[in-house]
């Protein structure tokens, strides 16, 4: 498992990208909820070299692109069964194929590409075409390990999304989460957003919770009972090194990294009472942020790093409060519902997601940081908890027991397109979305 982790990180040293001329193309297609999806075709990539397992890359890269485009919520991928061309015979550059083979299917955009594989090296070139205007919009060339072919697909979709929306996509990212994997112990896992390349981070046969990514995506903080009482540890994804981060007497909880990576907000206990503290990267306390008799836990940073949203039960049940780190002024933002927890501040800064109890079940809500009306994103689907934002602030991970056991789900920030991501037989909870990798 360590080797896989190291290998994934080594990929970043081998990927080389050559950018071909891109024309800024804005067709105004990315719109609000309920909009028509943009029809796009993605045939299998052409095998340009003598690859032995050609089909694996040919289909695999295309399938990954299709899955990501579908998950994005903006595209409708035209069924491959309807395609006219033979992908292995047709050209993949402008002028080498007939656009009418695609316009007749209703495609407005087209992804075509080719690859060569030699031993463990994969070179792929992928292009995005505008079918109406019959021109190339985007072209990329990737080099890497053959085993990492899916990441090439993720990177290209992120480029497509950048092209269409002005903001890079989030498909080349990872998630960390807690899984019982069908047994009784709660261990921490890391996987790609598409579930591939799953790595087990802890294997200590006890309770491990709340993994949290550093801003550079290189380390995870997590809470564990492996030493008999709840302490916070740091795990280095590149080296596999696991070190104690906070082992103060009592409960050590959480660990939310500031956007600049310099400070960590966490909750520590003093005689039964939890308060929020700022600590530095070595775990040393910098500042105590709350000091009231109630429970204060679960801090999450604003993108500016100037404020934190956290949970406090100082007025009865748990509600969300925002603390200004410099002035220590606090204001409450949730007023509907009697039990609101697990806040996460979007990187776009405009929304805070949280899990609130309503009619006996937990659902995911978002609320503006100024307070005001909460928007309910899940309903009539079991208990939905632990929201975590994508790096672009347009998607949310969350855990849900709507099918019985808990699984990790993803949805758009407006609640649309809810999909299950993890399929283990046990309970998967506490998801955390990595920053963009590389």
């Amino acid at each position: 498992m360590l080797r896989s982790v190291v290998a994934i990180w080594l990929l970043s040293f081998f990927l080389a990208v050559t950018v071909m001329p891109i024309r800024a193309q804005v067709r105004g297609v990315i719109v609000g909820p309920g909009a028509e999806r943009y029809p796009i075709a993605v045939p299998p990539l052409k095998n340009l070299g003598p690859a032995v397992e050609g089909a694996k890359f040919s289909q695999g890269i295309a399938d990954t692109i299709v899955r990501d485009l579908d998950l994005s919520g903006w595209f409708r991928v035209i069924d491959r069964a309807a395609y006219i061309e033979d992908a292995q015979a047709s050209g993949i550059t402008l002028g080498a194929f007939d656009f009418s083979n695609w316009s007749t299917l209703g495609a407005e955009a087209l992804v075509k590409g080719g690859f060569t594989v030699y031993e463990d090296n994969l070179v792929a070139e992928i292009r995005l075409f505008d079918v109406f205007q019959r021109r190339q919009v985007l072209g990329k060339r990737y080099t890497g390990r053959a085993a990492d072919y899916r990441r090439i697909a993720h990177k290209f979709v992120d480029e497509i999304v950048l092209q269409f929306t002005g903001v890079r996509g989030i498909f080349d990212t990872r998630i960390s989460y807690v899984s019982t994997a069908g047994g009784r112990f709660k261990e921490i896992f890391v996987a790609h957003l598409d579930g591939a390349d799953k790595v087990q981070v802890t294997n200590n046969r006890t309770i491990n919770l709340s993994p949290s990514w550093s801003s550079d995506g290189r380390t995870l903080l997590y809470t564990s009972f492996k030493d008999g009482s709840p302490k916070v540890y740091r795990y280095d994804l590149a080296t596999g090194a696991d070190t104690l981060f906070s082992a103060r007497r009592g409960l050590n909880l959480g660990g939310s990294w500031s956007p600049d990576g310099e400070r960590i907000a966490m909750a520590l206990e003093r005689n039964g009472n939890m308060d929020v503290y700022l600590v530095d990267r070595a775990g040393k306390i910098l500042k105590r942020l709350t000091s009231n008799a109630g429970i204060d836990v679960s801090p999450s940073w604003s993108p500016s790093g100037a404020e934190l949203v956290f949970v406090s039960n100082r007025s009865g049940g748990p509600q969300l409060y925002i603390k200004d780190i410099a002035t220590l002024k606090t204001r409450r933002i949730t007023y509907s519902g009697g039990y609101n927890t697990s806040p996460e501040w979007s990187s776009k800064g405009n929304k805070i997601a949280y899990s609130g109890l309503s009619d006996g079940r937990f659902n995911i809500f978002t609320i503006p940081p100024e307070g005001g009306d909460a928007q309910m994103l899940t309903s009539n689907a079991g208990d939905n908890e632990d929201p975590s934002w994508s790096p672009d602030g347009r998607y949310l991970l969350f855990s849900s027991n709507r099918t019985g056991s808990y699984g990790i789900y993803v949805m758009q920030a407006n609640g649309e397109n809810q999909r299950r991501l993890t399929g283990s037989s046990g309970d998967d909870t506490n998801p955390s979305w990595s920053p963009r990798l590389d």
């Binding site: 919770l209 009972f225 039964g272 939890m274 429970i295």
Partner: protein
């Protein structure tokens, strides 16, 4: 001549009464507080430790985390495994750490046992039901454990004999989606730890 033996006789009689009353009180407090049936209580009557007894069952000494890691049943007053412990669990309302009257009675019984066994310490575990986030429930468990410790202190148990730990919702004794099960999980559980040489 009568004076010489009447005082020791009275003293022995008095002590005998005190012991008898103490035994009775210990058992009544313990059994009144935990949600267990009369039948199971009397069946295990023999296993209830009398005040002053040095024998404490292994399940009374088992930390919930250790039991969980070993794949054993998590001990609690509401299950048959936990019946034999002289220290009984106390229960809480949803999202609350206040001690209700029943809980105080139970802790008074626990305090009596601790006073009669000065060589023993106790670890107070705070637990929560599964509703809500793991982090908030860990905090709630810590608060519950502290509430128990603080109340035992008012009953005269020295703070250095009591340690606390929270397990939040992580170590439930039952897993069904019902208020009955949730109430069993909203508990503080006391584990007996020796001060002297390890047993």
């Amino acid at each position: 001549m009568v004076d010489r033996w009447i005082l020791p006789l009275y003293t022995y009689l008095l002590l005998g009464l005190v012991f008898a009353a103490g035994c009775a009180t210990g058992m009544v407090d313990g059994s009144a507080s935990s949600p267990q049936s009369e039948a199971s209580r009397s069946a295990n009557g023999g296993a209830q430790s009398a005040i002053g007894s040095g024998e404490v069952s292994p399940s009374a000494r088992a930390r919930s985390l250790e039991a969980f890691q070993r794949g054993q049943e998590i001990p609690s007053s509401s299950s048959s495994l936990g019946q034999s412990s002289p220290l009984k669990d106390v229960y809480f309302e949803f999202d609350r750490f206040a001690l209700r009257p029943q809980a105080r009675e139970t802790l008074q019984g626990n305090a009596k046992w601790l006073k009669s066994n000065p060589g023993q310490r106790a670890e107070i575990e705070g637990h929560a039901d599964e509703r809500g986030t793991n982090e908030y429930n860990l905090a709630l468990g810590a608060r519950r454990a502290q509430a128990v410790k603080d109340y035992l202190a008012t009953l005269g148990i020295a703070a250095d004999r009591l340690s606390t730990i929270s397990y939040g919702e992580e170590l439930p004794v039952c897993k069904t989606n019902s208020e009955a099960c949730w109430q069993r999980n909203r508990r503080a559980h006391l584990v007996i730890i020796s001060s002297g040489p390890a047993s």
